[in-house]
Every structure is written in C-alpha cells, then in structure tokens.
C-alpha cells in the first residue's frame, strides 16, 4: 500500500531528517582526509558526493552551513587539497565513528584507529586500508543560499587504486573490494552486481556486458 506524505513542515525534526536523508536511495560514502595549515590531520566521513564531469575529472562535495566549526571544510579552503578514501566492510564502523565531534586538536585517525598514510609530495593524509584513494584539488565552490550549504568542487589530481579492481575499459569494480554504500545518516550496505548493460540505443534492447 502506498502512503502519501506532503506535510514536511509539521514533521518532528529527527523524523524529517531521517526521512529526507534516506529519500534518494543509495549514496556514495567516503572518508575525506585534510590537514590544517599546521599539518594537523583530519578525517571525516561524507555521503554527499556528486559526479560533475569526466573531462576535466570533477567531483562536488556538499558541506553543511559553516556556522559551527567544520574542520574539513575550513581545511580544504585553507590548503586547497583533500583526499577521498573509500570505505570497505572491514572498517565501516571505524569510518562511521569519525563523525563524532572530536576537538580540533584530536586526530580522528588516532581516535578511531584508522591508519594514516602519507605519500611523497602530497600534504594530505590517506586512509591506508582504503582500496580506492583520490587526491583532489579545490577548483571552485558554489554557495547554496536556500539553506547555507557549500558545494566544494574538486579536480582529480591523482588516483591510487588496487589494480585488481580496474576493468580493461576503465570501470572500477568497487564490490570486489567490499566497498560499501549508504542510505541516510547511519545505514551501511554491501552490494552484489546485477549486471553492466550496453550503451542504450532506440529499438535495441540492452545487452549484458562482461565486467
């Protein structure tokens, strides 16, 4: 049976937060690694990624209004760099714990026991265990006046990936590494491939592709 929900204004706040956050279905989830000017590391889980384009390779990350301390957002604006580190089944609970409000001088890497990894010539830290790591440079921002959120736009500078995940055509098999997806604020899922489908053309049903 279908129910109709129209009255978002009258909803209890936490109910609305859960409902609207989970409304869009399965979302990417990743750990953002940054440092402040003094090289203090920060690690934060984010589930608001938006693919913006492949050429140049661009991604958006939405941050909540900077009215309270937002360490990651401040670090990105100060240093212009950030890392993305995808999360697997083996450490999603530690990754979730990075969303706790730690003090600015406390490293989330230490607090939640995720090993930091530094790479030559790169200032921001990575999560060593992550099978897909991306270095991004801040190239633009868009402020969403409707609710004060900030869309940071990053360009891919480097990508570090477990070779086993990469298909011949460039496709990344995230499920092979147990990379998780999320719904809403607190639900984590493993996935199973149904299939890849061929490029759609009128009057030609899609074919299943080999991965």
């Amino acid at each position: 049976m279908e129910i109709k929900i129209s009255d978002f204004d009258q909803m209890e706040r936490l109910y609305r937060t859960q409902l609207v956050n989970s409304l869009w279905g399965f979302r990417p989830i990743t750990l953002v690694g940054t440092t402040d000017k003094l090289k203090n590391p920060n690690l934060a889980i984010v589930n608001n990624l938006l693919h913006i384009g492949a050429n140049p390779p661009l991604v958006g990350i939405l941050f909540r209004p900077p009215v309270v301390e937002r360490h990651s957002l401040e670090n990105i604006i100060e240093t212009a760099y950030l890392s993305l580190n995808h999360i697997t089944k083996s450490f999603y609970q530690k990754a979730h714990q990075t969303s706790a409000k730690y003090d600015r001088n406390q490293s989330e890497f230490e607090a939640v026991d995720i090993e930091a990894e530094y790479k030559e010539g790169i200032s921001v830290p990575f999560a060593k265990e992550s099978p897909v790591k991306v270095l991004l440079e801040l190239v633009d921002r868009k402020d969403i006046e409707l609710n004060g959120t900030v869309l940071i736009i990053g360009k891919v500078i480097e990508l570090f990936i477990d070779e086993k995940l990469l298909s011949k055509d460039g496709f990344i098999q995230h499920e092979k590494a147990g990379i998780v997806t999320s719904v809403g604020l607190d639900a984590y899922y493993e996935t199973k491939l149904l299939s890849r489908l061929s490029y759609a053309r009128p009057n030609q049903p899609p074919q299943k592709l080999n991965v």
Copy 2:
C-alpha cells in the same frame, strides 16, 4: 598492488569516461518524469542526485551541458516540476533503456514499456511500478562554469511510498523493495544491509541499531 594514475589528459576518451564516472563508488539512480508545455511525457534515468538538506527538503540533480537537446532539463525549466521514481531489480533494464536518444515526440514510457501513472492535481507522470516516488518543484539552479553542467535544485512537495519500506523513525528501507544502486554509466547492483549504526559520540563506539 596499488597503481597510481595521474595522467587524465592523455587517456583515451571512453576509458577516462568509465574511470571517472565509476570513481565515486555507488550512486543513487532514479527515473525523472517530466512533461513539456503540451503535456508530452518524458522519462529519463539519472544517477547524479545530491542530498542538499532536510529542512526545507532539497535535492540537486546535475544535468550535462544544454548544448544539445536535453528534454528533461528543458521540461523542468519550462514547467518547474519533475518526479523521481526509484528503480527496482524487476525493471532496471527497462529503466536503463530510457537513456537511448529517442525523438522528442516519442514517449520513453511507451518505448521501453514502463507504465505511466498520473496522480490527481499533478501534471508530471510517475512510473507506476516504482515503490518510492517523489514530486519536486524547481526552486533554484546553479551553473557550473568549469564544464557547462547545470545543477537543478528541487524541493520535495509530495512523497508516495510503499508503507512497508518506512521505519518508525522515518528511515526508508530501500533494499526491502529491491531498489538498485549504480556505479558509473552502466552497472547495476542489489544491496544487503550490513547495519545501521548509532549516532557517533567521542569515546563511545557505535552500536548497531534495529532497522
């Protein structure tokens, strides 16, 4: 073994498209229902949703540059309304087929055999089979000058949902309906819940929650 990929400029175009599109992991995927001014229906699959906020309930949808015909984008700008219709295992191949370049006067509902549903007082069509349907009103747009894409921002006006999917706290159990997630341009996945986790607080490990 980890490989490092830096040279995006030198990549073959299709390889880069697959690589960068699949870089962010699992993405929401849904069908956008619109009409033009003459009420001709359109249905298009999109995988570029961004949760923007719960109060007011806002979502972003990124569209590619409007340099060629983009029926959905044009319809949204003309009429200010659109529907989202989540996709299940039972019709993901039909949903994928909506990405074929049909003529403007051809309804994708008919072309791919997805039944259209009209609701009283609402101009845009829904996909009848979808267990989660959302009516959005266009409230803002942000143009991304870096690559000419357009971020449409919609506000949730109404939500139609299979009652069985709704938890007591407002959380939506998409996996219960077989709603799929996607990677890149052509890969579809079913999911399995690992767990929901409690709100994270410093010095307190996350607890598993009942759905």
